[in-house]
Symmetry: D3
């Protein structure tokens, strides 16, 4: 009955191997009337584990978001770090949702002491900084890392074992009551951790899809007072993206 | 394709006149596979405009939520004040979502300076207190009131005119970039205010429905570490609800 | 010389066994001109260990507070969770003081890193949430639990032993410098813990009595701007309390 | 019946003219069993309107507090700025209470948006800074000044008129719901402001007396973990106070 | 006597017209042993007024910073928005300082209520967000805009007049006590505003130079725990920067 | 080329033994055009380890600062506790910088989770309180103590060993990424700790010197709106300092 919603999911890396998993996990939360299209970048970083990687992904993301504006109702930047998210919100009039922001705000009603399971220790302060900017820091009490590089997350056995150990610390020492998976690639860890530790485990992709659907259905988009349309001006890139 | 989701929407007042509007507005955001059932209370307050009213609604709400647990996948407490929400989250294993919390967390990604349009001045400090508890206070910069009692919100012309004046102040003096309608009855104010002030206007009902769908689709519910199941004990009420 | 002050202390549970102890401990801080009257509830929960319990106690508390307005100068809700406190402050013109709020504000000048010793682990996030609403969270650094149900707090030996172990952690790991007893039933733990850990131990009852006396002597009561008198409206309860 | 409490009230200025008023206002909140002794300084500043003045008062205050330790149960530093308060809490084992801290913590349960009426504009940022250190800043929303020097506060007519104008702004523009008189000399402004603006007006002296009584009755004093006894060491002053 | 310090100042826009002014203003704060080199970008945006512009400047900034690592002791990103600053701090081992962060931290000891004078209203929420991430938000009380595009800041008369009006509001309505010039192009506004409003006016360039000198002299650089060196991985850009 | 800057460094204790080290460490960060003059107090405490000590140092510090105003461009109060700093900022028109404030603001751009290495456990809550007043608390995550009295800091071997153990805890348990030496006497600990723990170690003296130079070069001084000049009034001290 309801008209269909078209969501463009941008996996902001050049590695193509995530696309199918991403489509599957996004699909699992989507309304039947929602069409999910997943893409990865033609240029940019192979994976995102730092602000440096985020900057390498930025222009390609902006290009992808701009490309989505015509034919899609919303775009999702599929990375917990929310790379280029603020710029993307400025650039287009369709709602743009980041994995990390969606996961954190969706987790807030579920508990009072949120924890983020990060991939690498080197990313934890970046997540703290971003939470302060997002305004979610008031409920964030723990960010701990698997210390497994993103591209090795495919070794499910090792990930699973390590996750058990780290989340144990987050529960016992930091007192978390909700766990947020801090990377778009940790999609299958949820059920096992929920069982062991008796706490909700938020998979960011699902939160992002549902938030995107909400904004489309409600006719909402990011505030142009907070994210004003960038004025026209000369901006040059070597391959003429500007 | 996706299995259906059944959501019980509890309008926590004895006034039956809101039910149809509530169903319509909730329906407008819902997945086609979602079934929305709206009910109001058999006993309790006629409207909710204070913590006192909230307490009068509490046990009937808890009874309604408990009644929903068997046959529904999620429950929504349809009041911006989130009456009895924490107790309801403790009481059942299905996700329970409050209008106020859903609206505020869904508004966070849309901007940086949120404003709540309240019904009465006498409710504004209550909203500030609740935002601190919810953890959304970091982005809340303005709570101002129409100063029209809930039951008079049916006078649409008066509401509309007054809303224009108050939101004008919220934009000019408080610098809000997102407006949240601070009462479940202000459902039709959005489009006009969006147009006049060029900012997103969050209708809490839509946020609550989509958040509830997310939790059901993702197999999530409020953390039992944060909202533990109340132990069995003697609790007496005059009509044997206990 | 000074005129007498009449304080109604409402123990918000149906268990009558606390009344004498409560009177004794309240008396110990009271001005000689203060009259303390202790009551428990005729209906409601046997004990309060959750928001669910708090809601069961709410209407009987409001009834008790309203009943006190005529003949008493102040009312104390004798539970660290401050059940129905905000509604009670709205309902009457005499000052109403909650055990938890009194203890926390009275503790603030004594140190910089406050800790609350709770009864059950299941209550700790509730205390964190409430501290944020009360505005005392800035100094709160630790909430840990005895993990002994309220009604078993009568086993003084077990309580004492467990308290030593938990407070040890609060001092060594969380660095507290003031301890607040997080339940109205832990009245006799103070001296021993003070001795062992060399820190002040705040017994909430004493703080509540003295704060109530202050408000009466100073002609103060809760702000009607923050806690407005609930308007008259239809509110129904099965036994006609409304 | 209860044993008597002896409180030393130190007016930390050399001007002797406040003593009687101070005694009267302190007396008005005191338990009948409480003995109030008021003193002013033999050396120090004539009034306190800056951090500079506070430093001039510091050693004489510490001398007075040390002198009180033997014969008194508690000491009050009678200045809203709390001069030398932290050092005094370190120096002695009896509880020491500052006017400003007592007023602010006692005001917290009365409302949600506190305002401090200061004497001079030049003191307002000093009050903001101190509120952050005290941990009360979460509820403080307004500090505005009469802009009348302390020693001119005796011109009651001028003070009254100016107070009406300033508090009007605090209520209308800043939305305060509790007013705190930000100087120990504004003792008689309360009733009139309460009447005009319908909000509680906290007189710091009363809060300080009652808090001091609480600490004495409860056997409490400032935490020696937060305010450790200063070790013995060479400290020289020209007149051999060291 | 002291060895020389070489600082690379990167003006992150393609407009070459600022370079001389930037050199002059940086020089005015520099140690005589400090060598200042100013450069602008060969590609990127003509000016920076949004997150979108910041992303267009990011890779060229990172390239410039990397290029500076060999021959310079420190780098300054000459834009109040601190574009690509976090990534730059990760990328190199020499200290990298942003104009906005330097200005804000250097302003903190000067007062208690900081205000940022922005160029455009559309940039104000961006500055609020960044202040939260920087950790300087506790003292920030006002961000107001000239509403003059960066490239029109050369019209000194118009800028001057408008600045007087806006800062007047920041002082009277927001109570600022320190003014921070929120753009690297507002270099000459200081003296006049200081005179009119009797408050310190922080010119970001000077703060950045002195902070850079401090880090070099003290052998300090950004923490590699907070800003870890990006691992080697495939990162592609169309012109082979990767 | 640049005109010389004269900085008066006030070591606020009567112990003369630090002066040479202080001069050396200050010199190491100073511009070649900067003249550093170090002095200690003729009267006051032998060392500063408490608020009590700070008050004993206050008037001599104010006298020294006033004495510096004529012939110096800036003054530094050489103690991490910043004794009498606010009063000193009020008293004079030249910029006055405290070691503790300079170290903390200079550390903020270097990382996200700052830790202060204090001398004694008894000083840690004092540092937390001060950080809240300074506005740096948002990034402060750890304050731990060597538990070695200031005057024993000359035993370098013992200090070194103990520092390694304490900083190990700060890194592993509290997750600090920047270390601040919390006493002006710990000048030589930096290199070793930096090496062991791979994090920047901020020596407060260097930050203070560079901040003072910045203020002088930029023509800045503390805001007279935040730190107003104390009015003339009678202030008496036994030796006629007033």
């Amino acid at each position: 009955m309801s008209t269909s919603i078209r969501i463009k999911v941008i996996v902001p890396v050049t590695f193509p191997g995530w696309d199918d998993d991403v489509k599957r996990v996004c699909r699992s939360a989507a309304d039947s009337a929602t069409r999910i299209e997943v893409m990865h970048l033609a240029r940019g970083p192979a994976s995102i584990e730092s602000m440096f990687d985020e900057e390498w992904a930025a222009l390609p993301i902006l290009q992808a978001v701009a490309g989505a504006e015509q034919d899609y109702d919303a775009a999702i930047i599929y990375c917990f770090g929310n790379p280029a998210l603020e710029a993307a919100k400025e650039a287009v009039s369709i709602p743009v949702v980041g994995l990390g922001e969606a996961a954190q705000v969706a987790a807030m009603p579920l508990g009072d002491r949120l924890g983020v399971l990060a991939t690498l220790s080197s990313t934890t302060t970046r997540h703290w900084r971003k939470a302060r900017a997002l305004g979610t820091a008031a409920k964030l009490v723990s960010v701990r890392a698997l210390d497994i590089p993103v591209l090795d997350l495919v070794d499910r056995g090792r990930v699973r074992e390590r996750a058990q150990a780290v989340v144990q610390q987050m529960v016992m020492e930091d007192g978390i009551d909700v766990l947020i998976l801090g990377c778009g690639s940790m999609v299958d860890l949820g059920p096992e951790l929920e069982l062991t530790f008796d706490l909700p485990v938020v998979v960011p992709a699902l939160a992002a899809v549902k938030l995107a659907e909400l904004y489309v259905r409600a006719g909402l988009t990011q505030s142009k007072r907070a994210y004003p349309l960038p004025g026209k001006k000369e901006r040059t890139d070597t391959d003429g993206l500007g």
